[in-house]
């Protein structure tokens, strides 16, 4: 990227602002200008909070001038997926049912970013309630891929991925239930991390599937992703599934290299169903790690092949319960009717889009009398099998490798009419969510079409340290990935 703001990383920005070398206001303006110039085309944002951002940046500058240290993300602009609660700022989940809702509290991750000196520039588009792999299911229209606006950015955190890829913000937050951070990161050519379940508080993340959801960072560099994760991770008494131990240090491990680490390439996720040009990049990534000193072998996770089926029973089952709260009583859309029951049905029917309705019905069916054991119960047993297979693989390997997505970005509209073909996008990312492990996507060159390819690094629960070491090594070895300037022109 050639523009002065486009090359800046969160690490550099925070260092310059803390040292008083750059003001937060002067850091912010080029990002707002980039959004102004190109977001009408890309639609990465549901809402740009430019005035609030300017006020926050000015306040930070006053604190620096007064000799205060605003924190490790001082003056860093950040984009927030629009399913993260922001007090007094509309939070829609890209759904009509929450349009106009202003949460009465901040998500824990939002509060932690703010406390660390970050400046929110707005709320990013997503598939409605994070249900989708293309950001086409948004009630407010699709987001476009900055590398090729005729293609999807991936999903469901497509707005956050596109915002970082387009230079609208150096970093962003998303949520990942079955790949919703990693897959759009791969398709947009940025870094995306799904942390270990419980490492990051879910308080204030609008619930989709509570045993699978996890918040994580998007960034242009592995180091920025590590910094962001350090800030948002750690125990939170407001989330009873939050792991009660200190967050690991990640930025400091990135220079350790991969000497001695054992890396396994997952056989079941590199063959059939994976585009040959994508599979080739995974092979090259493994070779690069071997050259850097890691030991590379073939890993087997046989039950991972059943992950997709299990996921599309478990996630809808949990969603059907979580989304029962949208009843027109306490918040969001109400369609008036004669009785409360009729009001609830009318509100839900008008407020939810088709994909959300499909998943609610699928989940209700999988949990209903007579089908619970055949569908939901079996899916939960598959989950055990996948966990056992991963545990066996991690006895031999420290981290595993696979593609993040079976293909590069596909054209808008291509899979929108066929839910099953859309679900198949998630085959490589879903197993990690089912078992609660960590995984990240790192850009690694392009496919035959010139579009970004992501390589997925998987690690056992709380294996973020080896995962980030491998991520940093892949980043260093990656073939010149396509970069996009805020004006939309490809840079060699």
């Amino acid at each position: 990227m050639s523009t002065s703001h486009g090359t800046a990383t969160a690490v550099d920005i925070a260092a310059a602002v803390r040292a008083g070398e750059r003001s937060a206001v002067e850091v912010l303006e080029p990002y707002l200008a980039a959004i102004e110039a190109r977001d009408a085309e890309l639609h990465a944002f549901n809402l740009v909070t430019a005035d609030e951002a300017r006020d926050a940046a000015a306040a930070l500058d006053r604190r620096v001038a007064a000799g205060e240290d605003p924190g490790p993300l001082a003056g860093v602009p950040v984009a927030l997926k629009d399913n993260l609660c922001t007090r007094g700022v509309p939070t829609t989940c890209s759904s009509r049912i929450l349009e106009g809702w202003r949460p009465p509290y901040d998500a824990t991750v939002v509060a932690r970013l703010t406390a660390a000196g970050a400046v929110s520039v707005g709320k990013t588009n997503l598939d409605e309630f994070a249900m989708g792999s293309s950001t086409e299911n948004s009630a407010f229209g699709p987001t476009r891929n900055p590398h090729d606006p005729t293609r999807v950015p991936g999903g469901s955190s497509g707005g956050s991925a596109a915002a970082v890829a387009a230079g609208f913000a150096p970093v962003a937050l998303g949520s990942d239930t079955g790949g919703s951070i990693r897959q759009p990161a791969a398709l947009c050519g940025v870094v995306g991390v799904k942390p270990t379940y419980g490492l990051v508080s879910r308080y204030g993340l609008v619930a989709f599937a509570s045993s699978l959801d996890q918040i994580g960072p998007f960034a242009t560099t592995v180091r920025d992703a590590a910094l962001l994760l350090e800030v948002i991770a750690g125990h939170d008494p407001c989330d009873s599934t939050s792991i009660p131990q200190p967050a690991p240090g990640l930025v400091d491990v990135l220079d350790r290299g991969v000497e001695g680490l054992r890396v396994g390439v997952i056989a079941e996720l590199t063959g059939e169903g994976i585009a040959p040009d994508v599979a080739r990049r995974v092979t090259e990534a493994a070779e690069a790690l071997e050259r850097a000193g890691a030991t590379v072998g073939e890993a087997s996770v046989p039950a991972a092949a059943l992950g997709l089926s299990a996921y599309y029973l478990i996630a809808p089952a949990e969603a059907s319960s979580n989304l029962a709260r949208y009843d027109g009583v306490r918040y969001g859309l109400r369609v008036d009717a004669r009785t409360t029951g009729e009001m609830m049905e009318a509100s839900r029917t008008a407020g939810f889009g088709d994909e959300v309705k499909r998943r609610i019905m699928l989940g209700t069916y999988a949990l209903s009398a007579g089908y619970r054991d055949a569908y939901y119960g079996k899916a939960l047993r598959v989950r055990t099998l996948i966990a056992r297979d991963f545990a066996a693989a991690y006895e031999r390997f420290d981290v595993l490798l696979s593609p993040t997505s079976p293909t590069t970005a596909f054209p808008i509209g291509d899979k929108a009419a066929d839910p099953l073909s859309m679900y198949l996008n998630d085959v490589c990312t879903i197993p990690t969510n089912l078992v609660g492990d960590a995984a990240m996507s790192v850009p690694f060159g392009t496919g035959d079409d010139g579009l970004p390819v992501g390589v997925q690094v998987l690690a056992p629960a709380l294996g973020e340290v080896p995962m980030f070491r491998v991520g940093a090594a892949l980043e260093a070895a990656a073939p010149g990935a396509a970069a996009v300037r805020p004006d939309g022109e490809e840079q060699p």
Binding site: S211, L306, M343, R358, R381, Y423, A461
Partner: protein
């Protein structure tokens, strides 16, 4: 494997989930849900054996905090987001279909 999901099944679960569907939507969703459930049937090939169900990534324990008064969300701010509120409460239409 259970029988293929029928149009009546879809109408039934829509009712349970408080969604009303048009005839065209019923047809569309029945086909789409059947395709997903047929793909999902590969979990059905699983031998039951002694494989336990895994509902969550790690064992969950009930977490209770100390019973002390702390800061909480402001009531008026919450009620301000409700479609209809009255005297500190959420207001809804009649629940039994008759005027109060």
């Amino acid at each position: 494997m259970p029988e293929r999901i029928s149009r009546d099944d879809v109408a039934h679960v829509a009712r349970l989930a408080r969604l009303s569907l048009t005839d065209a939507e019923l047809d569309l969703f029945t086909g789409q849900l059947a395709a997903v459930l047929e793909h999902a049937a590969d979990v059905d090939a699983l031998e039951d054996g002694d494989i336990p169900e895994m509902t969550h990534p790690f064992p969950l324990h009930n977490v209770l905090r100390d019973d002390v008064v702390g800061a909480c969300v402001d009531r008026d701010e919450v009620l301000a987001q409700a479609p209809l509120a009255e005297e500190g409460r959420f207001r809804v239409p009649p629940i039994l279909g008759e005027e109060p």
